[in-house]
């Protein structure tokens, strides 16, 4: 007459609802213990997001600037000897077949820039005057922030164009175009100010005059200090190998050839190493957050002995009690994880926006973060849940 007894299965919805019921009674405690997890996840997501957005930003810059530029400069001479490139270096390099364009600058020695003729000679601000070929902006990817490049507007006075940092040092902006600077014992008119040049930062801190003007009026010796070369992307290595010999056939060892885009990429790689370290710190925070969740769960089980006893008396099996507390722990850390993903994502987005990078938040980071959260919640909840399940109903009820 008696039917066999089997516990009824609980639908998933009931499992989640029962697991969540314990969280509703202590909102502050839930908030605080989820916070630990949230901080860890937020830190990791933010760092991954910022680093990937930064990488995307760098790729965008490199796409725009091109990676096919090479800079040819004299190597630092041994024993302090002052090595220069021969005057014909630019022309010789221009004859290499894979070279698309070439330009040069030459440092004008002993000439400094002053706001006016009354400033003492020693207060030079360290701004170098550089003789430049007309094609420079095109080759190095410089953009004019205000005014125009040298020679574009015909001026009866000698003209000067300032690098971005130079203009800032001198306290000049677009509204000062047409003003005069005291340069090598005569007045020059400011005709343009450049934007910062990512591929040639050394050009941000100089003042440009034309090659001809520098030779005629400032005693420039005509030796290029740097030759900038754009070569076909496919032939870049070959051109790289030829440049030193071509620039200075007599002593190629005195020539240093560099690829400025490599320096940008190297900087990004260094940032990546730092980001790895920070993600590690985030992982530690996450682990500590997990310990917080475990702690909360242990306390919760101790406090809710009578609830456990009641549920056993209502017919809950040991495994249903176990599942309830495990679910509670999972929900608790998932709550922290979701909050962390949102906060970290927003932080990464805000930083990327401030850097004018495209916002990139890799899906693996989000899902990995949430998976780590669940793993931690599961580990943190396992021991308390087993303890809850082991509690005998009478022990729990008479407490």
């Amino acid at each position: 007459m008696t039917q066999p007894l089997t516990p009824r299965r609980m639908p998933l919805g009931d499992v989640v609802r029962t697991g969540g019921s314990g969280l509703r009674t202590h909102p502050l405690r839930v908030l605080l213990s989820a916070l630990g997890i949230a901080i860890g996840i937020a830190a990791m997501i933010a760092i991954v997001g910022i680093s990937s957005s930064g990488k995307a930003g760098l790729n965008a810059i490199l796409d725009r600037l091109g990676t096919n530029m090479l800079a040819v400069a004299p190597a630092k001479g041994e024993l302090g000897s002052d090595v220069t490139l021969p005057p014909e270096a630019e022309t010789m390099i221009g004859r290499i077949s894979s070279v698309e364009s070439v330009t040069a600058i030459g440092a004008v020695k002993g000439v400094n820039v002053y706001r006016n003729d009354r400033i003492p000679v020693t207060q030079s601000n360290g701004i170098t005057v550089v003789a430049s070929r007309p094609g420079l902006p095109e080759v190095v990817g410089a953009r004019v922030a205000a005014g125009s490049w040298l020679g574009a507007a015909s001026s009866p006075y000698p003209s000067v164009v300032l690098g971005a940092t130079t203009a800032r040092w001198l306290g000049l902006s677009g509204s000062n175009l047409g003003g005069q600077l005291w340069l090598g014992g005569r007045w020059f008119t400011v005709v343009g100010i450049l934007d910062p040049i990512e591929l040639a930062e050394e050009l941000d801190v100089v003042a440009f005059v034309t090659w001809e003007r520098a030779t005629a009026d400032l005693g420039f010796d005509g030796h290029p200090s740097t030759v900038y070369v754009r070569a076909q992307e496919s032939a870049i290595t070959a051109v790289h190998g030829l440049l030193a010999r071509t620039a200075n056939p007599r002593s190629p060892q005195d020539v240093r050839v560099s690829r400025p885009s490599d320096a940008l990429a190297a900087k990004a790689a260094a940032d990546e190493a730092l980001a790895g370290l920070l993600v590690g710190l985030g992982a530690v925070a996450l682990l500590v957050g997990g310990v917080g969740v475990a702690n909360t769960m242990v306390i919760s089980v101790l406090e809710r002995r009578s609830e456990i006893g009641l549920r056993r008396s209502l017919g809950a099996t040991r495994s249903q009690i176990w599942l309830q507390f495990l679910t509670e722990s999972l929900l608790l850390s998932l709550l922290g994880g979701l909050a962390g993903v949102v906060v970290g994502g927003l932080a990464a987005a805000a930083y990327a926006a401030s850097q004018q990078w495209q916002i990139v938040l890799p899906g693996w980071a989000v899902f990995g973060g949430l998976a780590a959260t669940l793993l931690i919640g599961g580990c943190a909840g396992m021991y308390p849940a087993v303890r809850a399940a082991r509690l005998s109903p009478t022990e729990a009820l008479t407490h």
Binding site: P7, G13, T25, L310, G315, T394
Partner: protein, 222 residues
């Protein structure tokens, strides 16, 4: 419905809570188990309610020999055949009466909508149909105990154990609770009430007196 044969519960270290207790409760009976504190009443409730196993002897509930059942099967037996009412109510705080009562069916494989529907019916049965949405802290002790009774009977158990159901109530609320319990008996549920209160026990048709873990033989009425 309930049969104990030679049941002993020994907690070890010389503490014997029940000694060789044998009793039978028939289907539809209303029985009081009476005795001073420390007489073994609570242990008897735990053993008869399959919350605990006896050290020796046989316990049969609703036709199931509990010695043959696993822990999982005992849980199912409680879920499907047994209801409990406790002195301390054990209601979930800040949870509406309706949901507290619906939890009585949580482990019976009933869908949530139906659980809530049957919970409403059970609350009507204990005259709390007007307080479905009220949480325990908004209720009097008597009302809370009636919510607890509704939770115990929502799964329509064959046997209901009430452990000092009036222990935390004043006499008016206590009488109301006792009235509801005897109504349940009238509706066919077997009800076992555990109490130390002789007055309460005197209201019940049958009493079993416990002292020092043994049943005191019934005195033949003069």
């Amino acid at each position: 419905m309930l049969e104990l044969a030679g049941v002993t519960r020994d907690y070890g270290s010389g503490v014997v809570a029940l000694r060789d207790v044998s009793l039978t409760v028939e289907r539809g009976e209303l029985v009081g188990i009476v005795g001073p504190s420390g007489s073994g009443k609570s242990t008897l409730l735990h053993v008869a309610g399959v919350l605990d196993r006896p050290t020796a002897g046989r316990v049969t509930v609703a036709g199931h020999d509990t010695a043959r059942l696993s822990d999982r099967q005992l849980s199912a037996l409680r879920a499907q055949h047994i209801g409990f009412v406790f002195q301390q109510f054990h209601l979930a705080p800040r949870v509406p009466a309706l949901d507290n009562v619906a939890d009585g069916l949580l482990y019976s494989g009933v869908r949530r909508a139906e659980r809530r529907e049957r919970a409403a019916q059970a609350l009507h049965r204990v005259d709390l149909g007007h307080r479905l949405g009220h949480a325990p802290h908004e209720m009097s002790g008597g009302e809370r105990q009636r919510v607890a009774i509704a939770r115990a009977i929502v799964s329509e158990p064959e046997i209901l154990y009430a452990d000092e159901p009036t222990g935390n109530l004043d006499s008016v609320a206590g009488d109301l609770v006792m009235g509801i319990l005897s109504q349940l008996r009238d509706a066919g549920t077997t009800v076992v009430i555990i109490t130390h209160d002789r007055e309460i026990a005197a209201m019940l048709p049958r009493q079993i007196t416990l002292r020092d873990g043994r049943i005191v033989p019934a005195q033949v009425p003069a």
